[in-house]
């Protein structure tokens, strides 16, 4: 039990660090996006730079949804609420957010090609979370059946 709690604690800390990184990325969002546009993408017209900035911020919104859902999921785990429908719902939210990020990155890919790689990574992560969700859903059904076996 203590071992598992340790894993949850460190994962929570890592999630909080990622949230902090997202906050820093948001604060310096305009600078970061301009750097990407000018130095990496070689884009200089205002319309496309602004579009990249908007897509960057939309992407971080998705990132916050994923990270806070993950934090909620981890708090549920530490409260011993593991095989519960709320967790599968959270995983569904995470997958949807990841797909939304992927779509956002596909859009950004037309301005800076590198964003397409991010979209593939987001879709892959979505696939992993969806598979874990399927396992959880199956486990919940089995648990319910076990609970009703007298």
């Amino acid at each position: 039990m203590g071992y598992n709690d340790g894993i949850i604690k460190w994962t929570k800390i890592a999630t909080i660090l990622f949230i902090a990184m997202a906050v820093v990325a948001d604060i310096f969002g305009v600078v970061i996006t301009q750097y990407i546009a000018y130095c990496w993408a070689g884009v200089f017209d205002t319309f496309r730079v602004v579009a990249l900035i908007v897509m960057f911020y939309l992407g971080t919104v998705g990132g916050y949804v994923v990270l806070f859902s993950l934090l909620k999921l981890l708090s549920n785990m530490s409260k011993d609420v593991v095989f519960d429908r709320t967790n599968t719902k959270l995983m569904m939210i995470i997958t949807s957010a990841l797909v939304a990020i992927a779509v956002d990155c596909i859009g950004a890919g037309f301005i800076w090609n590198g964003a397409w790689i991010l979209s593939i990574v987001a879709l892959f992560m979505g696939l992993v979370v969806m598979s874990v969700r399927a396992v959880f859903a199956k486990a919940i059904t089995m648990k319910e059946e076990m609970d009703l076996t007298i």
Binding site: E144, E145, L148, T149, I150
Partner: protein, 67 residues
């Protein structure tokens, strides 16, 4: 579907839920699940203990009915 006629047998033997639960070694909540047809499965060991406590056959408490 399978119907659990535990109520009928309990009435015949004049035994209360609490008493039966204690004799069988299951909680009252689980006995109530069994009585209310909410159970998905019954372990052979539980069935054995219920039959022993009520002095009956499994057929006396379980019944098959067409859906």
């Amino acid at each position: 579907m399978i119907i659990v006629n535990l109520d009928v047998m309990m009435a015949k033997r004049k035994i209360s839920s609490g008493e039966l639960a204690a004799k069988v070694g299951i909680t009252q909540a689980n006995l109530s699940i069994l009585k209310n047809q909410k159970a998905k499965a019954v372990r052979f060991s539980t069935l054995n203990d219920i039959c022993k406590a009520l002095d009956c056959q499994p057929g006396d408490i379980l019944e098959f009915r067409e859906d």
